[in-house]
């Protein structure tokens, strides 16, 4: 598993929420998930150079915590998988009193997690993708099946 992010622009609670969000958007199953690909670290590195995105993330992660507590949990991280997904999807339709923020944050965090995961070698291995740095000499042959879990 990839290392946890070092302290940076987010406090420990927000960082834990971010990790839970990333794990919810691309969970580990028979294949590695967002945490295995180090997605939170990549997002934090991005946030250190994008102040407006950092502001959005801080507000959005705080909103998620509030929604989790309203749902009776001690934190977003404490929710089970379906509970996390339910709250995340509620953002897409403008949850709570912060409709604009909720939608904007959902679109942004979904995009970032998916992009960093599927842009990583770990994520790409999940679907058997190899970037074309050596070309595709096998392009005319029947495609090989993606590798199975643990291979």
């Amino acid at each position: 598993m990839a290392q946890s992010p070092t302290p940076g622009p987010l406090d420990a609670a927000s960082l834990a929420t971010l990790e839970a969000v990333a794990d919810s958007i691309v969970p580990r199953d028979q294949d590695p998930g967002a945490l295995d690909a180090g997605v939170p670290t990549l997002i934090i590195a991005h946030l250190t150079t994008h102040p407006s995105a950092l502001t959005l993330y801080r507000a959005g992660l705080g909103l998620l915590e509030g929604l989790a507590r309203r749902a009776g949990a001690s934190s977003f991280q404490a929710l089970d998988g379906p509970g996390r997904e339910r709250i995340l999807l509620s953002l897409a339709s403008g949850a709570g009193d912060s409709r604009g923020l909720a939608e904007e944050f959902f679109i942004r965090v979904r995009r970032d997690v998916l992009a960093f995961y599927w842009g990583s070698v770990v994520g790409q291995g999940t679907v058997g993708y190899r970037p074309p740095v050596a070309g595709y000499s096998e392009y005319a042959d029947p495609p090989a099946r993606p590798r199975g879990p643990g291979q």
Binding site: S24, L114, A115, W118, G119, G128, Y129, P131, Y136
Partner: protein, 563 residues
């Protein structure tokens, strides 16, 4: 600011370094002329500048992105297009899986997919290198469609052959839908696995899916690596294998020692002399103004920028712009007629591997004999069109999150392909480039694009969409993920016609040699001279062949002292 006049003496100034400009410069330099080539963008180094060397290439900006509208230095006023004919509302584009069609009343703003950079749009083109079919030069005589060209396929054939050798075009000469020809400079690519699947579906319908002819050499040409089938032509070939003009014609021209290239040079105006000839070319490089002088000026800035410059270079003595006694500069603009469907199979076909558009169906290149579809068109297969290319684009286009999204990725990635049709648009005077009131930072007026479909165009879009869906079904596709047509979303990958060639000075802007009817030392060597679009074939090779013909004519005139 006062322009500094360049002291060097040039025989010719070529403005623009894309398909036409690069080949015109090569033709002139190799014939002994001293040539100044002015290019607005910069030059690129494939291994250094192009993003596909990185796993996260989809997150990285395309090297040319900032030079394309609407993200770059816009030349076109961004405004909604023509009213949509609601009888054809079923052609509307749906860009996301499961998305309901959005009703709209007008076409989206015109998108112009140009590139500023040494090599022009060949930096991002996908290497298609087509000789237009014979009948595409005589559409009016044969089908009552458009206008006949002032030259025949036979007139252009020697220049096609020369251009193909410069590019190392790979192809199969056994194409029954094209005039007989000799072997291509390099052998055809094998069909990709995805195209093999589609070919089987096409055969069931009685159609032939054939290898495309491509400027993606299958053997080394001029010491460059052959095509590595990376599928990355549009992002810039990291191997330097794609025969873009900067790596082919311009390199050859530079080897003569008679070509001077100035990148980062934006031409602002043509200056006319009292004798009715172009006397100077005014251009900006960084923060300085320059004036170049030459016996001949060749414009090759593309079908929007070339008429823009001619119209903007108006003066008291030329109130309608330069070379515009016909009033046709900017008129008869031809945009791209495109219909496509992105479909999913229930197994991996890995269409992203291999040349991006490696196969074509030419069965419909001739207009329909029953008169229902008067535009010739072709069908093709692409693993990179439609927004689904690498894993990131797939992931962002699929809805949802969590395990369901991951499962969808496992079932979709590598199983998606786009089938498309491209047709020839019916030329109409009302489709045109005009100057707007607003100006850019250099003080050059922006342009407005007026482009609407005729009934003929709409019938072609309809037919192509139906054929693409038919082909998908026959090939075993299990789901249509999206459809897109230029009915509502204009595309300008193949654009031309705005300074059309012809024999009649009242009905055309330039001669069959690209020479202005009005200004004896002014030539045009780009897509704007094309009177038609080759029944859906890609125009680059025809632009290059015409540019070589124009260069040869200039040299002949110079030797006869008739310039």
């Amino acid at each position: 600011m006062i322009a500094a006049t360049k002291q060097e003496a040039f025989d010719a100034v070529v403005v623009g370094s894309g398909a036409g400009g690069g080949f015109a410069a090569m033709g002139l330099a190799e014939a002994g002329m001293r040539v100044l080539l002015l290019e607005r963008g910069r030059s690129f180094e494939p291994a250094r500048d192009f993003p596909m060397n990185h796993p996260d290439w989809e997150l990285r900006p395309r090297a040319f992105r900032d030079t394309e509208t609407p993200t770059g230095d816009a030349s076109i006023v961004l405004e909604e297009g023509a009213l949509l004919d609601q009888r054809y509302a079923h052609l509307a584009s749906s860009s996301r899986p499961s998305e309901a069609l959005k009703p709209r009343s007008r076409r989206a703003p015109f998108r112009y997919e140009r590139v500023f950079g040494l090599g022009g749009t060949t930096l991002h083109y996908q290497g298609e290198a087509h000789r237009f079919p014979d009948h595409a030069f005589r559409p009016a005589s044969l089908y009552g469609f458009g206008v006949d060209w002032p030259l025949s396929h036979g007139d252009l054939a020697p220049y096609y052959e020369r251009a193909e050798h410069v590019l190392g075009v790979a192809g199969d000469p056994a194409n029954p839908f094209k005039p007989p020809r000799g072997p291509f400079p390099t052998p055809a690519h094998r069909l990709s696995y995805a195209s093999q699947r589609i070919a089987a579906g096409a055969a069931k319908l009685g159609w032939a899916l054939l290898p495309n002819s491509l400027a993606l050499p299958t053997r080394s040409v001029d010491g460059r690596r052959p095509c590595q089938r990376s599928g990355g032509c549009a992002q810039g070939c990291i191997f330097g294998a794609k025969s873009s003009v900067d790596l082919t014609a311009i390199r050859r021209a530079e080897r003569t020692g008679r070509l001077q290239v100035e990148t980062g040079s934006r031409v602002l105006a043509l200056e006319m002399g009292h004798d009715g000839r172009v006397a100077g070319i005014l251009y900006r490089r960084a923060n300085s103004l320059y004036r170049a002088r030459a016996r001949v000026t060749v414009l090759a800035m593309g079908a929007v920028e070339t008429p823009r410059l001619l119209l903007a270079s108006r003066s008291a003595s030329q109130p309608y712009g330069i070379a515009n006694s016909s009033g046709l500069v900017g008129r008869f603009l031809l945009e791209t007629l495109l219909s496509e469907v992105t479909v999913r199979f229930d197994e991996r076909i890995d269409a992203y591997k291999g040349p991006p558009i490696d196969s074509r169906i030419w069965n419909f290149s001739r207009p329909s004999l029953d008169g229902s579809v008067r535009s010739g068109y072709v069908l093709g297969v692409s693993g990179t069109l439609g927004g689904f290319h690498g894993p990131i684009s797939h992931a962002l286009l699929l809805p949802g999150l969590g395990r369901a999204h991951k499962d969808a990725m496992r079932s979709h990635f590598g199983a998606v392909v786009t089938l498309f049709g491209i047709a020839e648009q019916e030329p109409r005077a009302g489709n045109r480039v005009t100057l707007a009131d607003t100006k850019d930072s250099d003080g050059v007026p922006l342009v407005r694009i007026e482009s609407a479909h005729s009934e003929t165009d709409l019938l072609a879009l309809d037919a192509m969409l139906a054929r693409a869906k038919e082909l998908a079904r026959s090939s075993g596709a299990v789901e249509v993920l999206r459809q897109a047509t230029t009915y509502d979303l204009p595309a300008a990958t193949h654009v031309g016609g705005s300074c059309r060639m012809g024999t009649d000075p009242r009905a055309s802007v330039v001669t069959a040699y690209g020479r202005s009817h009005d200004v004896q030392n002014l030539f045009i060597a780009d897509a704007s001279v094309l009177p038609g679009q080759g029944a859906g074939d890609s125009p680059s090779l025809s632009i290059q062949a015409l540019a070589l013909r124009t260069a040869e004519h200039i040299v002949t005139l110079a030797r006869r002292r008739e310039l």
